[in-house]
Each structure stands twice: as C-alpha cells, then as structure tokens.
C-alpha cells in the first residue's frame, strides 16, 4: 500500500513540477532559423601584408564587434570565434537588418588624415578653432542631459585617472561635428569630398594600440575619447607638424570627426574632446578601436531569416512534434499497457527536463538541435521498449511478474548502456572535431542521452518497480502478454 501511495505522490509531484514550470518553455533561446534574424560568418585577414591573424587580435576583434552590436541595441548578439581566423556573428530578432549589417561590416579601415600639403589647406585652416567655444557649450548641456547620475559618478574616477596619467592638459581637441557644422570651415568645405580635402594619411589603424581608445569624462562631465598610439615618436612628429590644424578621423573613407591638434604630444597619448554626446563618444571610441585592429573582415557566409518565417517554422515543427508524441504515446500504451503508460510519462519527463536544461544553460535551440532531439526521443522510446520486451520475454518464460521485472530490468540495463555509451562516444568525437552545426548537434545529442538515461532508465524503472512491488501490476496482461503465450516452467 505504501508503495502505491509513493507512486501516486511521485507522479503528482513530477506532473505538478512539469505543469508549473511549463511557462518557462518560452524562455528557450531560439536559433535564427526558428526566430528570425541573421548570421554572418566573417573571415578575418590582416590589413597589412605579411602579418598573421593571431588568437589575440581575433578575440579582440570579436569583442569589439560585440560592443558594436550592443551599442546598436540589438538583443543578445552572439559572437564567437571559430578556427584560427573566423568570427561568427548571430543576431536574432532584428527589425532593421540593413543598418546593423552595414555597421557591423563597416569596421575596417581607420585612418587619421591631415591637410598637410594639400592644395586647399593653407587658406582655410584658420577658421576651424572658432567652432570650439560653441561646440563645448552645447556638449556641456547635452552631456548633462544624457548622463545619468550613476554614470557620471563612476566616470568621475575615470576622468581623474586619465588625468593623473599625465595627459597633457588641453591637449588636442575640439571636433567640428554636430553643432560645429555652422562654422566657417564646414561651410567652406561643405561641397567638397572630405577624403580629398584631407589628402595625406598620417596614421592608419595599425598605428593605434589595440583597444587603446576609451571614453573618459573631464571635469565638466563632458565625454572625451582618449587614444593611444604605438609609436609615440611618430605621433609627436605629426602633432608638432600639425599644430592648430585639423586631423581628420576617417573610417572607410568617411569622415567621422576632425579635431584640431592643440599641442605636440610626445607620450603617445591624446584625448579628443568637444561637442560629443555620450553616445557619439562611445561610438567613436568603438569605431577607433575596431579600426585599430589589424584585421579586415569579409563576409563569407550569411543567412537571414524573416521573423515571421522563423515563427512559422517553429509552429509547424512544434505541431508535428505534438501529434507525433501523441501517436507514439498511444502506440506504447497499446503494445505495453501499464508499462507503456509509465514509459509515456517518463518520456514526457525526459522532454521537459531536456527543455529545462536548454533554459538553464541558455542554449540556443535550432533546427539541427530539434533533429538531435528527435533522435533523443527515439532512443528514449527504445530504452523503454528494450526493457519491456525483456520483461515480456521473462514473463513468457513463466517467471512471476516481480522476478520477470527484476530479471528484465537487469539484463536490459547493460544493453541500453552499451548502446547509449557508443553513441555518446560518437557524439563526443563529432563535438571535438566538428564545427558549427555538427558541433551543436553533437552537444545536444550528448545531453539528450544523459537525460534519457536518467529519466527513461532509472526513473521509469523506479516507477514500475513501485507498481510491481505494490502488487498492483500483477497480471501478464498488464504487460501486454497473453496468458496463452506463457510457458509453464
């Protein structure tokens, strides 16, 4: 009697847990193929010939890409490095794909250019510094608006440390972005291609320290971008030559900003300040950092799935899955009766547990993942079928129900373990050697098998043992064996 009660309690508790946690299913992270979004695989090549793509530069590029994607406000970009020179980028649920894609691709060629020696420079450079006052005024109020109190608090210390590091006071400066557009300089040049205007390339991305740019705040809470170059001497020479001249920051031929050089900088560090909003400063910092990497990114594979299409795939697949499960359940009950019912229950538990692992581990469910899942369900069904067939054999051989259950469970255990372990080994090798889809598939398969062993071998057997020992299931018919099939011992 006790066993019957424990059986009922276990079933109710497990069913209760499954029932109450089912809403968590919506937290499963869905892959692009099910949710919509896009995936791009980049091949990284060094910008300068002869240099190799190093592990470090690759991860740094990936990190910068991630910052960039985050800055765009995309939800959970997934950026991974692959092999020795590849970066995979996955962004789900993006509405404005074109912009994101363009921005992600943009980081490539960073140059700092001057007008030194250009035909038009001499007469016009004088107009630039006039932007300074106006620009700083606007930026002050902008920064105050945009920076939250916590932000400014934490950044206070940044500003201090940056200053104590010995950045020359008032060094470089004053961009002519944004509000500065009203200055004489801008007006004069408005119709000219800035790339032509700034004809001399002074520094390229290679000259900057990787991840050397950062945003700090000066005493007025205005954001500034500090940069570091590798060769302080070269930088000193350039800044000396270009004092009071603008230095254009270009990314892929586009002018980002054009601060004026205010002093000769000999320690390889500089700060760019002026009318930046926090956001603009962050963006510029990211752009400089990304451009400073010695890697060029080329798209070699891309996939994009419309959000509604992904949803449709998911719905159709789920519907098919539910119908298939019901048919399998009915089949199991018809063939194996009471144990079949228990198998059905443990398979549901198995599916639930697997999905929970996806939620807890924050894994992404993709179509290949669903494939592995199907195989997992197949093996889960198989584990139960192997056990019940063995038990049926033992019953037919004339054993009592309880000894048939014991013998059947014991002899099927080794079989199941051998079959599952062999598959785990195959999956482990695939995981170790595979890439992309193969790897994901193998990982899901390994998890599935482990969960399957717990639920469909141990849990299922435990439930059945309660019923058998409780003498509730004591007739061969309950196992789907006819009395006429039994051999007398």
């Amino acid at each position: 009697m006790n066993r019957i009660i424990s059986f009922v309690v276990v079933i109710l508790v497990v069913a209760g847990i499954i029932g109450t946690t089912t809403p968590l299913f919506k937290d499963v992270r869905l892959g692009l193929d099910l949710k919509g979004g896009f995936e791009i695989l980049y091949q990284a090549t060094p910008t300068t010939q002869g240099e190799a793509v190093t592990r470090e530069s690759l991860t740094q590029t990936a990190r910068s890409l991630e910052q960039r994607a985050n800055a765009l406000g995309t939800s959970e970009p997934e950026i991974t490095t692959e092999g020795t020179d590849r970066i995979r980028l996955r962004i789900a649920g993006v509405t404005d794909e074109a912009t994101v894609r363009k921005t992600m691709k943009e980081p490539a060629e960073l140059t700092f250019r001057s007008m030194d020696g250009c035909s038009t420079d001499a007469s016009k450079q004088s107009g630039i510094p006039s932007a300074e006052k106006q620009g700083q005024d606007t930026s002050k109020s902008k920064a105050a608006d945009k920076t939250s109190s916590t932000d400014s608090k934490s950044s206070d210390s940044n500003a201090v440390s940056a200053q104590t590091e010995g950045l020359p006071q008032g060094v470089t400066v004053t961009p002519d972005t944004g509000a500065a557009g009203t200055t004489a300089t801008e007006n004069t040049y408005a119709n000219e291609d800035p790339a032509k205007l700034y004809c001399k390339i002074e520094l390229t991305g290679d000259d900057f320290k990787e991840n050397g740019a950062s945003v700090v705040y000066n005493s007025l809470q205005q954001p500034e971008i500090t940069i570091e170059v590798k060769d302080a001497k070269k930088f000193g020479e350039i800044t000396k030559r270009l004092i009071n001249q603008p230095l254009g920051i270009f990314l892929n031929g586009q002018l980002l900003s054009a601060p004026t050089v205010r002093a000769e900088l000999t320690d390889g560090k500089a700060s760019i300040s002026g009318s930046y909003t926090v956001q603009e400063a962050q963006q510029l910092k990211d752009q400089i950092n990304l451009g400073a990497l010695p890697l060029k990114l080329n798209e070699i594979y891309s996939q994009s799935v419309g959000a509604s299409l992904g949803q449709q795939s998911l719905n159709e697949t789920l519907k098919a899955g539910v119908v298939a499960s019901i048919i399998i359940l009915i089949f199991m009950i018809l063939v194996y009766r009471i144990p079949g019912l228990i198998a059905g229950f443990s398979i549901i538990t198995y599916v639930w547990l697997t999905v929970m692992i996806f939620v807890a581990g924050d894994f992404t469910l993709t179509l290949p993942g669903i494939a592995a899942f199907i195989l997992g369900v197949g093996m889960a069904v198989d584990s139960n079928i192997i056990t019940y067939e063995r038990i049926k054999d033992e019953i037919r051989n004339g054993k009592s129900i309880s000894s048939a259950f014991k013998a059947g469970s014991r002899s099927s255990f080794g079989t199941i373990m051998d079959a599952q372990l062999t598959t785990i080994i195959a999956a482990a090798v695939m995981f170790a050697l595979g890439t992309g889809a193969v790897r994901g598939f193998a990982l899901v398969l390994i998890f599935n098998i482990l969960v399957s062993i717990v639920t469909n071998v141990f849990f299922s057997r435990f439930l059945l043992s309660l019923l058998v020992k409780g003498r509730l299931v004591n007739k061969p018919e309950y196992f789907g064996v006819k009395e006429s099939e039994r051999d007398a011992l």
Binding site: A98, S304, T317, I425, A426, G434, A442
Partner: protein
Amino acid sequence: MRFKWNYDFVKLSKYFYTFSIILTIAGIISLAVAGLNYGVDFRSGSNVDVTLTKPLTEAQVAPVVESLNLSKDPSISVGGDGRMSIRFETVLTDTQENQLKQAFNKQLDSGASFEVNTVDPTIAKELERNALWAVLLASLGIIIYVTIRFEWRFAVASVVALLHDAFLVISVFSIFRLEVDLTFITAVLTIIGYSLNDTIVIFDRIRSNLRFAKQRKRGDVADIVNKSISQTMTRSLNTVLTVFIACLLLFIMGSESIRMFSLAMMIGLAFGAYSSIFIASPLWLVLKNRQKPKAKAPSKTTA
C-alpha cells in the same frame, strides 16, 4: 509473437548483401556521374524565400525581379502554401537585397516576409568535409570502444553497417536528385547515431546468447545469430516504427526548411534497421567463422 520471426536470417543474408552491394555500386556510379544535387547552401549565390500574404504567380513576380537587374536569370519558383523562392546565381549585396525587398513589398505584396540565404560555397563544402572527418574519426572511436566492451569483430561489423547506412542515404539523394542542403548533413549524423544504437542492441543480444551457448559445430554460431535477431526483432520494429512516425509527421506537417531533413531521416531509419539485422549481424558471423577453428589458445593476433 516471438515465434513469428523464426527465419534463417543468416541464410537470407546473401540476398541482402547482393542488394546492398548493387545499391552501393549504383550510388558510386550516380555520385561519380551526376554528383549530388546541391542546394543553395553548397552553390554560390543567393536564395530568397518569400512568404506571401496573397497569392502571386510567377508571371506577376518575374517582371519586377528582372527590372531590378540584380543577377543573370533569376529563377522563380512558386510553391504551395503561399511561398515563393527566387534564386540568384550571384550573391546579392546588402543594397541589392534591400532593393529587392522594397520593390517586392511596394509593388507586389506589402506583407511579404523574406528569408535570404547567401552562401559562399566554400563554407558549406568545408562543413561537409568536416562532418566527413568527424564521422570517420568517430568510427575509429566506436571501434576502440566496442573492441574493448565486445570484440573487434562486432566493432568492424557495426562500423561497416553505419557507413553503409550513411552512404546509401547519400546515394538515394544522388540517384533521385533530391536537394542536399546543410540540414542533410545533420540528418546523416542522426542516422549514424541511430544505426549504431540499433546495431549495438542486437550485438549485445548475440553476445549474451554466446555466453550461455555451447559451440560444438560451425552451424551453432549461425543459430545464435538467428535466435538473437528474432529475439530482438519486435523491439527493432517497434522502435524504428515510433521514430519513423515522428519523422513522417515532421515530413508532412513540419516546416519547409526541414522537409529534406525528415525525408533523409526516414530513408536512413529504414536502412538503419535493415542493416543492423541483415548486414551487420551476418557480417559479424562471417568474421567469426573465419576465426581459426578451435585453436586452443584463442589467437589475439588477428585483432
């Protein structure tokens, strides 16, 4: 039930060997002559799948797509259930992609949503090659494990069976010109997993029957194989049937993007069950019978 399966599987096996060999040769020829019908994943270009909110015919779409001048001979195919696929031989750039989407939304169907696959085939080919290596090395791992747990003959026979299944599925796709995309690779891996699982279950039964059987004459081992197969037959059929049902439903009801996957799975499941019974087990017997008869100290040198 259990008496139903008392066939001489071993005796029948030579017909199945012939069948498998013919299929394999047909597969080799088909692969050598025609290769595989690679989907967009494996061919350079762009494939745009459009989900429509209203029915459109090819004649309506073609002029709009052609007017954009995106690529030579875009091919348009209209599927059932409000879907349409436009294939470009060259890779569309971002701008071109947007042009197409905008033109389509503006001129044809404002509610259409798009799935664009753009592929440089090197990456798909690489995945294919990578999967192949993974499978071959996984086979090695299986051989080592099964040799330790069972014996090398079981290992060899199970690996032959799984390679047989994977290859035949690939052959069928080649012969019937079914489209091979990236999910196909996953399907083949799944089939290998299934085939292996299935084979090991039967081998396990053979091994345990061997333990209790006395082997006096040659035919005894064959009897054990027959007995083991018939003992596990119900389980083999029930299992393959349930998984097959799942795949069949995915094939019928599931999303378009996994249709080829489900098809490959169904073919593979059938081969997986077949090979475990008719190829792997008899093959083990062939290897076993070549063992030196009654060498008092079982010679290990063959391993």
